[in-house]
Amino acid sequence: MKTALSWMSFGVACVAQWAVPLASIRAREEVLERGAVVRVAVMAPDPFDPLRGRYLRVNPKESEVVLAQEVSHLTAGKKVWVQIEKGSDGLHHLGGLTEKRPDAGDYLPMILRRAWNQGLDSGDKSLKFRVEWPVDRFYVNEILAPKADEWLRENTRGKKTVVAELRLLNGTAVITDLELDGRSFREILKQSGH
């Protein structure tokens, strides 16, 4: 009996250890294959994750929303669905915000957070919130990371905009590249001899 339980637990462990990453892979492969291309303006500094290596933190520049009347009851911490709409500048921007998952279009789940200037003790009910994007990092090779960081710092000081290219499908997004003036940062780094 005890042995059967041990084997059962071991089986659960093995299945879960395969199922969790495989489910994650399947969802993202589907997004990469069938997802719409979305381009978002970002800032990208270079932190380090001790387990997963170096990455460029992808901070979409657009991260503040003002709640419309019909969703004004929402509070910080709530999950919302935000439409991603293409603008006249060729980039994608935050659109309408709903509590329920939209039936169509390009959208992403985001978490509402208090706006930067809204303190914990203020207690006032502001309609201005920050949204937390579900994509926040782009892992890069440890040799490339410092060069990419330096290059990004040089190029984001002025008026140039670094753009994150995402694939988006049914509310799941996968970052595929970072680019400047329509060129991949890897390509630019290679050409500039970084």
């Binding site: 339980l5 879960a16 250890q17 969790v20 290596g53 170096r54 996968v174």
Partner: protein, 435 residues
């Protein structure tokens, strides 16, 4: 007892049983106890080598992954993630199928599989640039290894899980999260190791290593829940820190009163980290309070802590555990566990917190000594150390001349040495009980 002594005892048992010095039942109980402990200590060298080996291989794998081999295609990188996982699972399965393998192999296999699981999910999230806080990663990792704790009964994987959820709870302190993403889930996560320790029939008591891990993890969980309770309450932000600390201390007081079996009561203080760690924190707090001129901040933290639901829950738990401690006659610990309540007493009595804390510490010190003479669980040397430290502290902030202070210091030192000598002689004449 050390390994050679255990080995000697086991060898003597047959002879003693034949001579009628111990009964057959007593001999069986002693054999079971010391054989289990002996198995751990005699294989300690192999065990440590196995553990270090598994950890090094696992750490190497994770560091290799951190390099980010972006020259590889996605399928190649995913193969790098799953092949080590598969190998570790096959190794563990083969050990389980054989049965009765050495402990070091079982522990190493468990840890290796834990490491390859972490490496696998790390590589997948790196390949697809999956975001999220590091705590989400840690929690996924811990949960994926939890069934291994039940399957292999490996204590090092259990220690990994227990410490992992403790670290997760500390890192998961966010104001705006749903409750199931905050440290409030910690108690449920801790229940995850129940099938392994103590087991459904309460038959597997934790060994010393797991006790230490459980204590550290529980302390982290209590601190995280206290912090979460304060952040979610309407307390002014200036009071959050102090109140969090007081609530953590209240939880620590409850932790040190955790009920013990009869065998557990007889064990030394070194075997009870759940008593030792909170006791140090509680005594530190009490000593700090003796230096306080104005108790306003202490009292405000305690009263606002008690106004939160978490504070009331902790106080209720402390009352229940205090009742059990009275029943188990653990009066020495009870006197320590009362320390967080001093600021509350101070708010209703016309005595300063400094005097109240000094009086209470004196009472704790005397209690720890006096109980020993009545054969109750106690710690006379700790009591003497508390009284000595208290006298030093009061002398330091007194206005006596240096000559007076010097004479008092020498007097206390001589008294301490004499007391130590007295207790040593007493211990030889009769076995002393402990907290």
């Amino acid at each position: 007892m050390k390994a050679p002594e255990q080995s000697w005892l086991l060898k003597q048992l047959d002879g003693w049983e034949a001579e009628g010095l111990v009964t057959a039942d007593s001999a069986r109980v002693l054999r079971e106890r010391f054989r289990a402990q002996g198995a751990v200590s005699m294989g300690a060298g192999s065990l440590m080598m196995g553990i270090v080996g598994a950890l090094l291989v696992g750490a190497g794998l994770i560091v290799l992954i951190s390099h980010n081999w972006d020259d590889f295609s996605r399928p190649q990188r995913l193969a790098c993630a799953f092949v080590p996982l598969l190998l570790s699972q096959l190794w563990t399965a083969s050990l389980m199928r054989r049965g009765g393998v050495e402990m070091w192999k079982r522990e190493s296999a468990g840890l290796f599989q834990t490491a390859t699981t972490g490496a696998c999910i790390a590589l997948v999230s790196q390949t697809y640039h999956i975001g999220g806080h590091w705590t989400q990663f840690l929690l996924s990792w811990c949960l994926l290894t939890l069934p291994l704790v039940w399957a292999l009964r490996g204590r090092f994987v259990a220690v990994f899980y227990v410490l992992g959820i403790g670290i997760w709870s500390i890192g998961q302190n966010h104001v705006d999260e749903a409750w199931y993403l905050t440290p409030w889930v910690y108690p449920f996560l801790l229940l995850g190791i129940w099938p392994y320790c103590p087991g459904f029939g309460l038959q597997h008591l934790p060994d010393r290593l797991l006790r230490r891990a459980l204590t550290l993890s529980a302390a982290a969980g209590i601190a995280a829940c206290s912090s979460q309770a304060c952040m979610n309450s309407a307390l002014p932000s200036t009071q959050v820190e102090g109140t969090t600390f007081w609530l953590t201390l209240l939880g620590a007081a409850g932790l040190c009163l955790f009920p013990l079996s009869k065998t557990g009561l007889k064990e030394g203080l070194n075997a009870k980290p759940q008593v030792l760690l909170p006791a140090i924190a509680l005594l530190g707090y009490a000593f700090a309070a003796t230096f306080v001129e104005s108790s306003e901040a202490f009292t405000a933290a305690a009263t606002s802590g008690l106004s939160t639901s978490w504070g009331r829950l902790l106080a209720g738990a402390l009352a229940v555990l205090g009742g059990v401690a009275v029943w188990q006659q653990r009066f020495a610990l009870l006197s320590l566990a009362m320390i967080p309540l001093l600021p509350l007493v101070d708010s209703v009595l016309p005595v300063s917190l400094s005097i109240l804390s000094s009086l209470h510490l004196t009472a704790v010190g005397l209690t720890l000594i006096v109980l020993d003479f009545y054969g109750k669980p106690s710690a006379p040397r700790c009591g003497a150390a508390i009284l000595t430290a208290l006298i030093f502290a009061r002398m330091m902030d007194s206005k006596f001349s240096l000559v007076t202070k010097g004479i008092v210091f020498m007097g206390v030192g001589v008294a301490f040495l004499a007391f130590n000598q007295f207790m040593s002689r007493r211990k030889h004449s009769q076995p002393a009980s402990v907290v």
